[in-house]
């Protein structure tokens, strides 16, 4: 049976995120799943991993600077060797793409980035990905014995295993070399415990507002809250100081692949589209029916976003009772 490794990263400390549950669901369909943690998992975490069918949990601490991709990758490589895995699956983020690259380099493995689903075909990992601003659907295969892939959030629905497992817990001895000449001077982790909205990268629904909001994001935020969605934006709005850089979607912002992407007052520049082309359904609201995002959408309303979004919120409230 194919061994599949799912590195949990810092996730292990706070309980599984939705994106990790999705990757565990995919991993279970490929083979026998081992998870990798860097702190001893709590009983709750073990039970949750068991409910997703994980058979083994390896734990190894990371030396400082633990947040260097080259450091984290060495622990992943040790785990792959320890339990001879043929597939390593990460959730996609800036951080994990870097770790995945270092891991693939050390293992001589083929690397797939931001795939929207994976399966095995003749022992080879195959993954699908949209390219060129979402205009092409590509299917890529890995030709090496070991495959490393990062999977976009919302690629599949998270599904607990039909039969929960009791994961075996094992310490992983790992010799990790610290990268030369590198020093971490300062690190702060934003506190998201008070957040009322899901994280942009992982939300199932994203409502984004662009320059057409003229800085008034209230309609965008109200629709987002009515849908339980995350709020996104464009670079122009970040430059205006209307929303913080973390909210930017696009080539140089966050890549999102939600089930639904709603873009209001956004023209749809290639830089923006590059970051949301993986969305399942695209809805646009714009006064200009020629705007590229309208042309790319599944459904579009041509009109002033403040009234359209407010009316939509009202209709949704009525529907929800």
């Amino acid at each position: 049976m194919t061994g599949v490794l799912v590195p949990l990263g810092s996730d292990a400390a706070a309980g599984l995120r939705p994106a990790t549950r999705e990757v565990l669901t995919l991993a279970r369909d490929l083979g026998e799943v081992t998870a990798l943690a860097h702190t001893t998992p709590t009983a709750d975490l073990l039970a949750e991993l068991g409910s997703y069918g994980v058979t083994r949990v390896l734990t190894t601490p990371l030396p400082e600077p633990a947040s260097a991709a080259a450091v984290a990758a060495q622990a992943v490589v040790s785990a792959v060797t320890e339990v001879s895995c043929a597939v390593v699956l990460f959730t996609s983020s800036f951080t994990t793409k870097e770790i995945a690259a270092h891991t693939a380099h050390r293992l001589g493995a083929g690397l797939l980035i931001d795939v929207g689903g994976v399966h095995l075909d003749g022992g080879r990992l195959v993954g699908g990905k949209r390219a060129f601003g979402g205009t092409w659907e590509t299917v890529c295969e890995v030709r090496t014995e070991v495959a490393v892939a990062t999977v976009t959030p919302n690629a599949v629905m998270a599904r607990p295993a039909p039969q929960p497992t009791v994961p075996e817990l094992r310490d992983l001895p790992a010799e990790i070399e610290v990268p030369p000449r590198l020093e971490l001077l300062e690190r702060t982790v934003a506190d998201h415990s008070g957040d009322t909205r899901p994280s942009l990268a992982e939300a199932a629904i994203v409502v984004s507002g662009g320059r057409g909001t003229f800085g008034d994001f209230e309609p965008v935020e109200e629709l987002a809250d009515a849908l339980g969605a995350a709020v996104g934006t464009t670079r122009d709005c970040v430059e205006e100081g209307w929303l913080p850089p973390e909210a930017m979607v696009g080539q140089t912002g966050t890549t999102v692949a939600p089930r639904v992407y709603i873009g209001a007052g956004i023209s749809g520049a290639p830089h923006h589209i590059g970051g949301m082309a993986g969305a399942g359904t695209v809805v646009a609201v714009n006064i200009d029916d020629e705007a590229p995002l309208v042309q790319l959408a599944d459904f579009a309303v041509i009109g002033d976003l403040s009234s359209v979004l407010a009316d939509a919120v009202e209709a949704l409230r009525e529907h929800g009772g």
Binding site: F94, H105, L184, R187, D289, F299, V301, D311
Partner: protein
Amino acid sequence: MRSTEDGTLNEVDENAVETALQLKEAAQAADPDSGHEVVALTMGPSIAVDAARRAMQMGADRGVHVCDDDLAGADYAVTAAALAAAIRTEAPVDAVVTGMAALDGLGSVIGSLLAAELGWPQLSVARSVSWADGVITAHRGVDGVSETWQAATPAVVSVTDVTNSPRLARMKEILAAKAKPVRTLSAADLGLTTEELTSRTAVRSATRRPEPDPEIIFDDGTGGAKLAEYLIAHDLLAKENS
């Protein structure tokens, strides 16, 4: 740097060129005899040389163009192996600066792979970059984490579109760029082995997605309600992830 299909420079690579120019200027200010150069490196078909030209118009001193039919369709691993080999031919190099992500593939992995290939420290997705006495300091903020890293050169740095404002090429430099040398290197020149030239991933199929055929509603006061109806009718409200 990477060129786009029409041979122009991937825009965030202009930020990379700007960072390289600023690093050179800082080194020169500290020691006017340091003799630093900015070399524009690109890999791609013959048209890709335009990206190096564009960088030279901004002020890069010369270009290196890795070009070989055997590199067509190179995956991340082959691209990184070829670029790393080209960087080694330029030794000693103090810093390799890349963009954070190319517009077409959005891999954001070439910088990491180059750091791994070269065994150098990596400062990635840098929102600001500074240099002093052979040490580069970079600040980054990704995935809700803010970090300041420091690396003694040589190092690999990747930059974003907000790291700086790329300078505009002046007429004098556009003319001067025509005379700047570009070295063209083949896979054989780089001594790449068959293994290094073998892609580890392959595209099985690429299909054009059907032309989008949007359902467009002109708002007559019911547009918002229709938007809500669309989401409800297509079962797009479910919040199973929250």
